[in-house]
């Protein structure tokens, strides 16, 4: 059952995120050279890190799917990548806003992490169309898993290549996230924890929904017979219960 822990998880997420953002707004000191707009960092960077970890987690679930042939792993992989893509939209939008505030342009090529993230995002954006274009369910799951593993392995390689390609003329604050002063670091860690909780919350939420729909289909089949089901082509994996 995926829905049983949703309530406590939501409470934990709300508390952590609000605490984190409050710390960022009121307690963390103003950044010396970027000023108030540095506060975007507390939103943008946790989202980025969690999204990337989500992609890698999706790849790991895909490995488990190929090993065990259990469709539940495929569903976990699908949901993981799905939520990471949504967070990815947020990362790119907040990154663009930050770039506009800092450099006056909505997009800058000097920021290797943002450029790498755009490439990763464009790659994972093809995940759902790929799934949708394969009709056979088992094949769809298998091919999607191969894609998720390939893309997951690509993430670190891509960051390496882009970072090597970019001349780091303007080192940004989040490149040196390791050496943050005390209060900033606390705020960042709390926001990071909140973002992780948010990801897990959304993941459980979607899994609970998918599980419910699968149970509904099974019930429909029992009550109305097989013609009660309208099977549509879809990119999302369907559990059989």
């Amino acid at each position: 059952m995926y829905g049983s822990r949703l309530r406590s998880l939501s409470a934990a997420t709300v508390v952590t995120l609000i605490t984190g953002f409050s710390l960022a707004a009121f307690v963390a000191p103003m950044d010396a050279d970027q000023g108030f707009m540095q506060k975007i960092f507390y939103l943008h960077v946790p989202m980025a890190i969690v999204a990337l970890c989500g992609f890698v987690f999706g790849g790991i679930c895909a490995v488990m799917h190929l090993r065990t042939d259990d469709p539940k792993w495929d569903l976990r992989s699908y949901v993981a990548i799905h939520i990471s893509v949504i967070l990815g939209v947020g990362v790119l939008l907040t990154g663009a806003i930050w770039a506009k505030a800092s450099w006056g342009h909505w997009w800058v090529w000097d920021e290797p992490t943002l450029v790498s993230f755009l490439i990763i995002f464009l790659l994972y954006a093809t995940y759902t169309p790929l799934r949708f274009s394969i009709e056979d369910r088992e094949k769809q799951a298998r091919y999607a898993s191969v894609f998720a593993i390939t893309a997951g392995a690509f993430v670190p390689l891509n960051f390496l290549a882009v970072r090597a390609a970019t001349s780091l003329v303007h080192p940004r604050t989040f490149d040196s996230a390791g050496n943050l002063p005390g209060a900033m670091r606390t705020a960042f860690l709390v926001c990071f924890a909140g973002m992780i909780l948010l990801y897990v919350l959304l993941w459980q939420y979607e899994m609970a929904h998918k599980n419910t729909v699968a149970q509904l289909r099974s019930l429909k089949r029992k009550l109305a017979g097989d013609d009660g089901l309208r099977s549509r082509r879809s990119a999302a994996p369907e559990l059989q219960v």
């Binding site: 953002f21 103003m30 950044d31 010396a32 050279d33 970027q34 000023g35 108030f36 707009m37 506060k39 975007i40 939103l43 943008h44 989202m47 949504i86 939209v89 947020g90 939008l93 907040t94 806003i97 930050w98 506009k100 505030a101 959304l202 939420y205 979607e206 929904h209 419910t212 729909v213 509904l216 019930l219 429909k220 009550l223 109305a224 009660g228």
Partner: protein
């Protein structure tokens, strides 16, 4: 570089915009899940109706079959 305390009014807009983007994404997600919840609700109501029909159907003939099954 001078401390950005003078620039606070300008940059506050960008910071607010960034956090609003985050909020918007969450609310859009909630909206989509709400739509899906509506569909689930519709299906459950339909299934409830079907289950009622099975127990006390309108047509008598299937009732005998159902009685012998149950």
């Amino acid at each position: 570089m001078i401390l950005a305390s003078n620039a606070l009014p300008d940059n506050a807009g960008y910071v607010a915009a960034a956090y609003l983007v985050f909020l918007a994404l969450l609310v859009i997600y909630i909206g989509i899940m709400a739509y899906k919840l509506g569909r689930v609700e519709r299906d459950v109501v339909e299934l409830n109706r079907l289950a009622d029909e099975d127990r006390a159907p309108a047509v008598p003939a299937p009732a005998e079959e159902e009685a012998s099954h149950v």
